[in-house]
Symmetry: C2
Subunit: 419 residues, 2 copies
């Protein structure tokens, strides 16, 4: 027996499938016109969005959401303008669909090519920030995919009006109805049911914390792209330049500690520890960071909290940093590969061989030489907006832009060949 | 509480993880030396392999395996030589690892590149043909991945000796122990537990029928690449050339009906049906094919079995073909997108617009113009061996060779950049 909620979700899935067939061959100019219309309509309805957002904020305050969460949830004119600009930027990006990646002629005369196509129907489960609703819908539309959006309960009123505005704008611009749909339910079961809709969703992108990750592992039959688990390290090598190490460690830790590409761990080569650690730790502490040190670190900088074994795996998303002194570059690489989440990892070194070994040996979505881990971001990498940062290895790894929302198919041109 | 089997599998998983770290940076010449050694050792131990294979064949006969299955299970000197040659061909292919796919300089001076890396640890669950053991291990070794192999129970003795020989040869050639491991158990639970080993396996490739697919949907927490579901169509257009249509339909259906790229359905445009269908159906029947016709087909060729609604979704893997007359190209495309499995689909037409619409509109791993669906194959496409044919859209679609066993990572070179 289907529940009422399941019946609604399946109907949305069917509608998305139909829309996806239309979108797969929609001309670029039509998709772009829709994106510009969506942007214009968001700005035109700014006051309505702000009014709806106030209901979410009021409810959030009553439920005792932290001020950080309330801040993420807040929409104002400037943020609505940014959302609209994001859609216009996506419209300005080249259309990835139809690109022939390669074509070769085989000995039997067949021309075999590989061409970029949309994935089909994309599902996304996300939290808090209502701008994701517009970003994700815009990226999916441009890449020819239908999208089913499932935002956080705390943002339902905001997401509902944003989805309604952009969906109506897209339809008026000639995109078939059903290309952009929101799951209009606060029920947690809606997210769990989405994870099992493999007949209707070609991929599911969960953006959230450990709870969502576990629910996905337990329930998903839809292929999933895991995003945003970030236990990131900065390793200061024996040959690291202090003048680069200090600002990079500080930036990676404190510029925005709540995001997944912020550094959580500092590894320092033993040969550099005595000279560098006191200064780096002092600067971090002055920036409000709580330091948890390994035994050797605490001998060099007395009075630090002791790092526990759990610290090496932890993702704090806060002004906390654990510090470990390693005996060698190899120990640093092994430590990162063992405890890291495969997100963003950095080495600070002026030694050619050390950098080369680190870049090759560290298994992560983004590996940095002499730069802050904070750069792992679709905009910084030049993708326009981003759909999330994949920390898995299949299909997409790192920031996901338009290209990561596509697949390929083989096209084979013959003149009667048989086998 | 872990069962003994689970304890063994987890130990294999740990060993594979360690091996994968070694393989990720193993030099190409060392991997190739191992592949040549594996090939030589398979040939040197041919008699032992044949003896072990006889035990499997004997047991299979007692269990009443069909002659087709027994045939697939059989190893002889020639097949062992083919396995060895397959490994030598993999050695001769270029190493995909370390290829820089692109690198751009961003406005802030960061050089951001994307480089090809191994996936890590690959699991494969397969049936019957013991040569898959060598093919899959060879492809994974060359692409820098560790592999855990789980063959069919009916081939356990054959797979056991093949895995032992090639694993020992690789180790002697300097590859770390654990790169190639077989799950040495007839227990079905071993396969189910593998599907849940997401801490140890980066991807699982199931090769098998509907039962395996269902078990994977029900149990897998490891990211999966589904393979080889093939309800393939040949569509003969209004503007199709009979001289091409007849041999292509025959070839697609009868050349090897038991494989996933064989055609199961024939769609014919109504304007071509009267002229083409009697001849095509007669030729198919003479080749031993049972025809199941739609109502219109049965009016043109009386006496055919009636096609039921279930026929349109069926994958026969046998000398059976269902035939449907469609009113238009659009109906053909819609029918294929609704009932097909997204494997291989062909149009026979000399009309430019019809071919262009079909290639763009059909959503499948391989779409053919005027050629047989039977060509969807890693060897034919020029990939050397293949790991399976993906019928999903994420990560890999169509025949999977070395490239599909890789992922990428971003490498970012800076000189002190912060955000």
């Amino acid at each position: 027996m289907q529940t009422e909620l399941e019946t609604i979700l399946i109907a949305q899935g069917r509608k998305a499938r139909r829309a996806a067939r239309f979108l797969a061959t929609a001309p670029t100019h039509k998709k772009n016109e829709a994106l510009y219309a969506m942007a214009d309509q968001l700005e035109a309805h700014g006051q309505e969005i702000i009014t709806a957002n106030k209901i979410d904020l009021e409810a959030g305050r009553k439920q005792g959401l932290t001020s950080a969460l309330l801040e993420r949830l807040t929409l104002n004119e400037s943020r609505i303008h940014d959302m609209a600009q994001g859609l216009r930027e996506i419209a300005a990006l080249p259309d990835p669909i139809g690109e022939m990646l390669e074509m070769t002629r085989r000995p039997n005369g067949l021309d075999i090519g590989r061409i970029r196509t949309p994935i089909g129907v994309v599902g996304i489960i996300y939290e808090s920030r209502p701008n994701v609703t517009a970003d994700a819908a815009g990226l999916c539309l441009k890449s020819g995919n239908a999208i089913i959006l499932r935002g956080g309960e705390e943002a339902l009123n905001s997401n509902r009006i944003i989805a309604r505005i952009i969906s109506a704008a897209a339809t008026q611009a000639g995109i078939v109805d059903g290309a952009i749909q929101l799951v209009d339910s606060e029920d947690r079961e809606a997210a769990v049911f989405m994870m099992k809709m493999h007949d209707y969703l070609d991929v599911l992108i969960p953006r959230g914390g450990q709870g969502l990750k576990k629910a996905v592992l337990d329930n998903a039959t839809v292929p999933v792209i895991m995003t945003g688990m970030g236990n990131c390290h900065v390793y200061v090598d024996e040959y690291g330049d202090y003048e680069k190490a200090l600002p990079i460690v500080l930036n990676a830790k404190v510029q925005r500690p709540s995001v997944c590409n912020a550094a959580e761990k500092l590894l320092v080569h033993q040969a550099a520890a005595q000279a560098y650690l006191p200064g780096i730790i002092k600067a971090l502490q002055e920036a409000g960071v709580e330091i948890r040190g390994c035994e050797k670190t605490r001998r060099i900088v007395p009075g630090l909290i002791e790092a526990t074994p759990e610290d090496w795996s932890a993702e704090y998303l806060d002004l906390i940093m654990a510090v470990k002194i390693v005996d060698s570059l190899d120990e640093a690489i092994d430590h990162i590969n063992q405890y890291g989440t495969g997100h963003s990892e950095a080495i600070i070194s002026d030694n050619y061989n050390a950098v080369r070994s680190f870049m090759a040996g560290v298994d992560a979505a983004a590996v940095y030489a002499n730069a802050s881990t904070r750069f792992t971001d679709g905009n910084v990498f030049g993708f326009g907006a981003e759909m999330g940062i994949s920390t898995q290895k299949l299909h997409a790894r790192g920031p996901m832009g338009l290209r990561e929302l596509t697949t390929t198919k083989f096209v084979i041109y013959g003149d009667g060949q048989i086998r």
